[in-house]
Subunit: 338 residues, 2 copies
């Protein structure tokens, strides 16, 4: 079957009895080609399994066909803050969207070797969780590499292209849900507010408490490891006036909170309700499944690639923001029997 070499445009031209030029025009809807000729060429190309050589394509188009996906090397905790499952949903979706558009999504190297970035002439970059006024973003843009961020550079939200969840809305929805479910006193296991998402969530929580005349009840968990959530939750639960519900951000933290409740002999949800903002498979599968806002990471990844491609096309010449809605997944951890 295999003809050794894969068919090129000249093979299609030969089979159709026309010139390479005409084949190119037909395939790209560019020049003037008679409709029936076009049809014939398309049919033959399809039959031969013709796929344009990407190198040759990129050579003429002065592109590389490469998009990078990476966290900011300016971040001292590279990629570490990301929820695993969140990233593992986002990255393949982004990769798939890029491939469909003829681009390849490359994994960014670590920040230690910035000169390698230059060697790879990227057409564009996707940066997750930028820091405020992130210098890396500025440098990329200065070099002419268009950037789209996942999460905002909070200092420059008006001047940059970004995709994000509405985390204030998501957090508020979680809090409202917990309140309706019967919670009286809601604690928050928070991350250090370094990225836009943690800033938004903390803000939403503080506002929500303030609206109820309640003081914020926050314990900070450094890192996303379950252990950090475990200990932060323990501190909340050991306090004199312990909460009857704890909300938190990442999947790992929520699992830590749940283990802390078990350790203290608290029943979930009877004695303590638990809810998270970022859903993940671990929450649905947990022994007692945990309510969470599903941020739709796959959609975020796809949307980010799409926005980046629009920048490359020139279809989005000025800063633009895309907000992906989240969906509350109500599970056992907040379903209190009456």
């Amino acid at each position: 079957m295999e003809q050794g070499r894969r068919p090129g445009i000249r093979d299609v031209a030969r089979a159709a009895g026309v010139s390479r030029t005409t084949v190119s025009h037909a395939l790209n809807d560019k020049g003037r080609v008679a409709p029936e000729t076009r049809e014939r060429i398309l049919a033959i190309a399809e039959e031969l399994g013709y796929r344009p050589n990407t190198n040759a394509l990129h050579l003429t188009q002065q592109r590389t066909g490469l998009l990078a996906l990476t966290s900011s090397p300016s971040d001292p905790v590279p990629l570490g803050l990301l929820d695993v499952d969140y990233f593992l949903a986002l990255a393949p979706a982004a990769s798939e969207a890029a491939l469909r558009a003829g681009y390849a999504l490359v994994l960014g190297p670590t920040g230690q070797a910035p000169e390698l970035w230059a060697q790879l002439r990227l057409d564009g970059a996707l940066i997750t969780d930028p820091l405020p006024s992130d210098p890396f973003l500025r440098e990329l843009e200065r070099q002419g590499t268009p950037v789209v961020t996942l999460g905002r550079d909070v200092d420059r939200a008006q001047e940059t292209w970004w995709v994000d969840s509405d985390l204030v809305a998501a957090m508020t929805e979680v809090l409202d849900h917990v309140e309706v479910a019967g919670a009286r006193r809601v604690g928050f296991v928070a991350e250090p507010p370094r990225h836009s998402y943690s800033i938004d969530e903390l803000l939403a929580y503080e506002r929500w408490q303030e609206a109820r005349g309640a003081a914020p009840l926050v314990e900070e968990a450094a890192g996303n490891h379950t252990e950090a959530g475990f200990h932060a939750a323990q501190r909340l639960l050991d306090a004199a006036d312990r909460p009857d519900a704890i909300v938190t951000t990442l999947e790992g933290l929520a699992l830590g909170v749940k283990l802390a409740a078990e350790t203290r002999g608290l029943r979930v949800p009877e004695d303590l309700m638990i809810a998270a903002v970022s859903d993940g498979p671990g929450l649905a599968q947990a022994h007692t499944s945990i309510t969470a806002a599903d941020l739709a990471p796959a959609e975020l990844g796809t949307a980010a690639v799409r926005l980046l491609l629009e920048r490359l096309d020139g279809a989005a010449p000025t800063p633009r923001a895309v907000v992906i809605p989240s969906v509350l997944r109500v599970r056992a951890s907040t379903r209190r029997p009456r």
Copy 2:
């Protein structure tokens, strides 16, 4: 400063007063060029900041310059079994090694869209944790894409190119260490033996116990979530004849074991020693730091890329295996005060 266009080989040729051919020969040490001419050309190229255009390069060399890094889509639990921090150390190192050799490491899309793989004409692929007789590997090789696996396809270890840790040795070293440290009865929180690493580790544990005339004491934890490790450890600790040491595999599982010990009111290491085979930052930073075998994931990633490049060069025409040594990191969890 920026001249608009970056310098091409003709710019170098013009500046040096020679032909493009000579420049090419000088830069690649190919044809016959007088030493002083070569020096002059190299100097000028350096000064101009010349970097060959990768598209043009790949076009002539009939390559794409793309290597994929992905887990096997045949695996029903894609990438999920990987330890996060393990992957986050491995991937950037692999990416860096690829970039240094002029290749880009692309993120594989999910298994749902296999036709996209074909569109991307890979020069080679890195597959983590293949399943036994993995059909995806076979398919890739059939299509002419050289593959190197991280971890072995246990059924075809003789016929494939792979990079792996010596997990039998690592596990045995951990067990020996725990015994010397004073453990009398060692339990094992294991993963389902689906991949080569979990198979090796289980085998090593069983052998070690057998050599001591002891029955294996194994609890299986599904998935790498801390929660699974927590519950598996609880089962071990609730048994009539509870172990005074627990070894396990991944970082997440070890943290779960530790939380289980805390919950049961057991002191680490006095009442229970804990050790893992795959080290990670969470173990070093844990409240009570945990002993573990550091598998050097960055070295694994680098070695895998190197082996793949050797296959591409033709320098490794027949199946070859590379074993990366591990290092035991002794920490508080096994340092029992006398």
